[in-house]
């Protein structure tokens, strides 16, 4: 009997212990607090920026914020949470990823009322603060689901000191740009530095398509189930230009693992670097004291049908999951976080603001980038929005684009392979 009792007690203890170990650890949670899951890793300058906003918000409103940092793979944490009915109140990240993954499935809350409401200090309308084209990227079904806190573009980056030394002006056409590259090659200097990453390799074909064929043409290539869009001779021209420009890349670039290529550029081993406007944030501590961050838009191509003034704008910002327990608190926090003083603070992390009216506050290192983002001209999305077609982009386009840029295939083979692969993909 004693032994049986001992057996039962021990079993009960072990079961409780097991559940304690695996169910525990969550600790006490404040039901009235705002649950905010952040894209930025702990310690990143933008995480520190966000923490300051949270501290101020808690102090000013008395609302507690449960802040955690799932990091760049935030959607891997958000997906099971939403699926289990434990959605956070607020998340942030890249608009295109957020809309492609959550927005398309109707898992976000529209924020039109926030846009139409007032700013935190009540001095104006909330949506009037933003640069044109930055709030509409998260638009879906005629509503906005996303509030941007910074805006990016991709463009050519260079060291202004180097341009001054050479007496160069910003190239406005592709021919002018190539003339500069030829001059550098003659001197034995590498014109273009880059990292070998599919994401960056894809910039070239995308930008040539943008300038030669115009916004939406690249998207059409990926979504035309007949493949007829690939027969446009301008597509072949864009592929040919990718093939041609690769001879100006820094020697051995295929071996550059990010960030080796951009560091090589920052250290003066190459003159131009086609990349996102976050480059200053990533390289500010790796450049010489006399280095001056400069940027210019992808030059116009003679005979191109694309608007040479068309600018890429991609945004990062906040979204509220549809099943958030405290959507009003989330909106209140967004309203608070998007005040001019925090946008000025954001620019200290080398990230461009998404606000108008801060021209006098723009630091030198992002002045050119800000000028591109706010310039007159139509807005288009990064890669013509094709990152939202993640499977086509990653498994159909990338492999063939890499082969083209590596020189493994001709432009004609590039077009015919992608046409066949796209048709097969869309009709499977």
């Amino acid at each position: 009997m004693k032994r049986r009792l001992c057996f039962v007690l021990l079993t009960v203890f072990m079961v409780i212990f097991s559940f304690q170990v695996f169910a525990g650890g969550s600790g006490e949670s404040d039901e009235n607090a705002l649950e905010f899951w952040c894209y930025w890793d702990k310690g990143h300058p933008n995480d520190l920026w966000m923490r300051q906003i949270i501290a101020d918000f808690e102090k000013e409103t008395g609302i507690k914020v449960n802040y955690s940092n799932p990091g760049a793979n935030i959607l891997l944490s958000v997906a099971p949470a939403i699926s289990d009915g434990k959605a956070p109140d607020l998340i942030d990240g890249h608009c295109i990823e957020m809309i492609a993954s959550l927005g398309n499935d109707g898992l976000l809350l529209p924020v039109e009322d926030l846009y139409k409401g007032s700013t935190w200090d009540g001095s104006g309308v909330f949506e009037d603060q933003f640069i044109d084209g930055t709030t509409t990227q998260g638009m879906y079904d005629g509503q906005r689901w996303f509030v941007p806190y910074c805006a990016h573009t991709s463009c050519f980056h260079y060291n202004k000191a180097e341009f001054e030394k050479r007496g160069w002006e910003i190239p406005e056409t592709w021919d002018e740009f190539i003339a500069m590259c030829d001059e550098l090659v003659a001197e034995g200097v590498a014109p273009i530095g880059l990292d070998n990453t599919p994401l960056y390799n894809a910039y070239w074909f995308y930008w040539f398509m943008e300038r030669i064929c115009g916004t939406g043409a690249f998207w059409e290539l990926a979504t035309d189930p007949t493949g007829a869009a690939w027969d446009n001779p301008d597509v072949l021209k864009a592929a040919q230009m990718v093939s041609d420009v690769s001879k100006y890349f820094i020697s051995g670039w295929q071996g550059n693992v990010w960030p080796a290529g951009q560091i090589a550029w920052a250290q003066g081993q190459a003159i131009f670097h086609l990349d996102g406007s976050y480059i200053a944030n990533e390289l500010f501590d790796k450049v010489d004291e006399d280095f001056q961050f400069g940027a210019f838009p992808f030059p116009a191509i003679e005979g191109g049908k694309g608007d040479p003034a068309s600018k890429e704008v991609s945004v990062m910002g906040f979204s509220i999951p549809k099943d958030a327990k405290h959507p009003d608190l989330a909106k209140k926090f967004i309203q608070f976080a998007l005040q001019p003083k925090y946008q000025i603070a954001l620019m200290e992390t080398y990230y461009p603001t998404t606000f108008v009216g801060l021209e006098d506050e723009i630091p030198d290192y992002i002045k050119d980038v800000y000028a591109i983002i706010t310039s007159d001209g139509p807005v288009h999305m990064m890669y013509d929005g094709l990152q939202s077609l993640g499977e086509w982009w990653s498994t159909v386009f990338y492999p063939v684009d890499n082969d083209l840029i590596y020189g493994n295939i001709t432009p004609e083979e590039f077009v015919s392979r992608l046409k066949a692969d796209t048709v097969a993909y869309l009709n499977k």
């Binding site: 032994r3 695996f22 295929q254």
Partner: protein, 298 residues
């Protein structure tokens, strides 16, 4: 069966329970769920899923990237395994020949196994860098500039990756083989040497046959771990793994979650994971059949 054995069996049950719970929660349940989801079109953000039968499996069989990733797996398994075991045996011979510092020798070889694969990749990323990397600088200092290449370029990246894999894991398999050798009685070697056997003959006629069972286990373990290897190839080229080294586990991750370019085809990824499990089982069975020998008792 004695009463005391029955009593002890009952008493053992509560002690085994925590491990059983862990095993069910973190292995059995995910494995069964994976199999279940492989028959669905499922994104993972909601509970909505569509039954698609075996179409995820048939799609995988006509997926060029799947076959390319399997080829990467096979290259790692075959070439990595070949060099790992050749070197492990070479080190074993050295180990048997040296009289001192045996534990230091063993510890040094095992060292890479206790380093995080991400840290290993960062370290080797610096070594392989074509501009300031140690390898190309060494080649320069030895006057071998002709051999300088971009070690992480598409044409060399597989060689570089396999080199790092061999560097990392050779110590682990060496230690397994050493554990087999340590159970061979000294008297067997002594009598062989007395009868005129050379150290090389002793190695091939005594050591290898007598550790064959351990060697078989090591090979099977390598087959399994090489086919499901993830961290090292995933971290080898920075924040986004280069497509030239996508193996099946990386492809599963990319399909299920993606990196910058979200795909979220959890159902399809699960189907490929099921296929990977089948591939692992096939290779394990083949290797066990090929390596089965009469066991030597001593």
């Amino acid at each position: 069966m004695s009463n005391s054995f029955k009593r002890n069996k009952k008493l053992a049950l509560p002690f085994l329970l925590p491990s059983l719970v862990v095993y069910i929660l973190f292995f059995i349940y995910p494995a069964v769920s994976g199999l279940f989801y492989s028959f669905f079109d499922y994104k993972g953000f909601t509970r909505d899923k569509t039954f698609v039968g075996i179409s995820n499996f048939t799609e995988a069989l006509s997926d060029k990237i799947f076959w390319g990733a399997l080829l990467v797996n096979l290259k790692i398994m075959f070439f990595g395994g070949l060099f790992i075991f050749l070197l492990a045996f070479a080190f074993l011979i050295m180990y048997q020949c040296i009289a001192h510092f045996k534990s230091t020798f063993r510890a040094l070889l095992f060292l890479p196994n206790i380093i995080s694969p991400v840290a290993i990749c960062i370290l080797w990323g610096f070594v392989f860098n074509q501009n300031f990397g140690l390898l190309n600088n060494l080649l320069t200092s030895f006057g071998l500039e002709k051999l300088i290449v971009a070690w992480l370029a598409p044409e060399y990246i597989m060689v570089s990756l396999i080199f790092v894999i061999v560097w990392t894991y050779v110590g682990f398999y060496f230690v397994i083989l050493v554990s087999g050798v340590s159970k061979i009685p000294d008297s067997v070697y002594e009598s062989a040497l007395l009868e005129g056997a050379s150290p090389v003959q002793a190695f091939f006629k005594i050591t290898i046959p007598m550790i064959w069972d351990v060697f078989t286990v090591a090979v099977v373990y390598w087959l399994i771990s090489s086919l499901k290897m993830f961290e090292l190839p995933f971290s080898f080229t920075g924040f986004k793994p280069r497509m030239e080294i996508w193996n099946i586990p990386i492809y599963i991750y990319m399909l299920g979650f993606g990196r910058n370019d979200a795909i979220y085809r959890i159902g399809y990824a699960a189907a490929i994971a099921v296929l990977l499990s089948i591939i692992v089982m096939i290779f394990v069975q083949i290797s066990r059949k090929l390596m089965t020998r009469e066991s030597i008792e001593y």
